[in-house]
């Protein structure tokens, strides 16, 4: 995100704090897709992820006056999204979670082998990315897709900077193990 857009986001928050509905529409338009995708990767359910967006931006509407600009608005949004996603996961019944886990297992066992048969390493890599644990998935997404710095990731997840770096390192190691299990050798580790 450019400094210009970061400043524009803060101006929108200032207007939202004063009840500017149009400013909320603009902010929503800018960020709702990324919020949705970050939430979806955490909760693995489109319906829940859509409900999350509404909750996240409603929180922004209510709390805009308290935003102090110490981090980027996008970082603030992802931190709220993560909090709400984890709350949603805790509310779900064991039965629903078991179903999700079994679906994940099925995905893992079938598609990477199919992808290798078709020599599609990219697809295998993508499938293995979906098979990472929630902690590893979120940190990979925050760094690669949401382009968050070490400090921003630390703020969103609520862990120290060094833990951010080592957690991503071990996420990558796990990814390499999954790929190796699917027959993909990438020369690391």
């Amino acid at each position: 995100m450019s400094p210009a857009q970061a400043t524009a986001d803060e101006a929108l928050i200032a207007r939202i704090a004063q009840g500017d509905r149009l400013a909320m529409q603009v902010l929503y338009g800018r960020h709702h897709v990324r919020v949705f995708r970050f939430g979806l990767r955490l909760v693995k359910n489109e319906q829940i992820a859509e409900d999350l967006i509404s909750e996240v931006f409603l929180d922004v509407w209510r709390q805009a006056g308290k935003f102090e600009g110490r981090s980027a608005v996008s970082t603030w949004l992802l931190a709220i999204t993560r909090f709400k996603a984890l709350s949603a996961l805790r509310r779900r019944t064991d039965g629903e979670l078991d179903e999700d886990v079994s679906n994940a297992i099925e995905d893992t066992s079938d598609d990477p082998e199919v992808a290798i048969q078709k020599k599609d390493i990219s697809a295998a890599l993508r499938k293995c990315l979906t098979s990472l644990s929630p902690d590893h998935r979120e940190i990979v997404d925050l760094v690669y897709y949401h382009e968050k710095s070490v400090e921003e990731v630390a703020e969103i997840i609520g862990i120290p900077r060094n833990t951010v770096k080592t957690r991503l390192f071990y996420a990558r190691k796990k990814l390499a193990e999954l790929l190796q299990a699917a027959g993909v050798e990438r020369g690391w580790p």
């Binding site: 400043t7 803060e10 101006a11 928050i13 200032a14 207007r15 704090a17 004063q18 009840g19 509905r21 909320m24 529409q25 929503y28 709702h32 897709v33 949705f36 995708r37 979806l40 990767r41 489109e46 992820a49 859509e50 409900d51 509404s54 931006f57 409603l58 509407w61 209510r62 805009a64 006056g65 308290k66 935003f67 102090e68 600009g69 990219s122 890599l125 993508r126 990315l129 979906t130 990979v140 997404d141 760094v143 690669y144 897709y145 382009e147 968050k148 710095s149 070490v150 770096k165 080592t166 991503l168 390192f169 990558r172 190691k173 990814l175 390499a176 990438r186 020369g187 690391w188 580790p189």
Partner: protein
């Protein structure tokens, strides 16, 4: 390669290795990016790992992009909830920093540049007035208040003031010859006062930014008199 595998399997990442993903995403500081580039140039194993990271980076982006976008239901639900919220009658609980950011962010770059230039000019003018008058009256000797209302054209000679809070509370101040500009500016800020006039007798008329009763003005003037950079302070009309 085998040594590299052994290292990775048993050890935590070293500093540069840990930064590789951020380098691929382009979110490192310039300094860290330079350090990583130098390390990659001299370490082929690190470069191979970096190539793998770049694959992960691009596939993560493709994966997330493939997740699609939410339906309009989410936005409808959001704005229905916003409409159900109590109306905001006034800007409430908005932090000063947010308001300041919002105000300046609304200005165009040209307007911001002009506003900044005017603010600097105002500061320089105020400092210049102080500097010129201090240079003219640097004898260092104590003088009784020599301000004579008759020195000012059309000025009232009466110092009688009502007991009601005065919305233009003022004081006359002479600064000591060795008073620094920065100390004078700090004093003005602490007393919430501005210099509105200077006199030929080397006095400055300060106007306070809030209404004050006669007693309050007297108290403030007494405090001013005790300031280290103030030579003399008296209440003024």
């Amino acid at each position: 390669m085998m040594a590299m595998r052994k290292k990775v399997q048993t050890d935590a990442p070293d500093e540069i290795e840990a930064l590789l993903p951020w380098h691929a995403a382009g979110t490192l500081s310039a300094r860290d990016a330079r350090r990583v580039d130098e390390a990659l140039a001299r370490d082929p194993d690190l470069a191979r790992q970096y190539a793998a990271i770049r694959e992960e980076y691009s596939e993560t982006i493709l994966l997330n992009e493939s997740l699609g976008a939410p339906s309009s239901r989410a936005m409808q639900k959001l704005f229905a909830a916003i409409d159900a919220e109590p109306a905001r009658s006034r800007p409430s609980s908005i932090s000063l920093s947010t308001r300041v950011v919002g105000f300046f962010a609304r200005l165009s770059p040209r307007t911001l540049a002009v506003a900044a230039a005017v603010a600097v000019l105002a500061l320089l003018l105020q400092a210049g007035v102080i500097g010129v008058v201090l240079m003219k009256h640097d004898s260092g000797s104590f003088q009784t208040a020599s301000y004579r209302p008759a020195d000012r054209q059309g000025a009232s000679t009466s110092f009688t003031r009502s007991l009601e809070p005065d919305s233009t509370a003022r004081a006359l101040v002479r600064f000591k010859p060795d008073a620094r500009m920065s100390d004078i500016a700090a004093l003005l800020e602490s007393y919430q006062a501005t210099i509105v006039e200077s006199t030929s007798g080397g006095m400055f008329q300060l106007q306070f930014n809030r209404p004050m009763s006669k007693e309050e003005v007297a108290g403030v003037v007494a405090k001013l008199q005790n300031e280290p950079i103030v030579g003399l302070a008296v209440a003024s009309q």
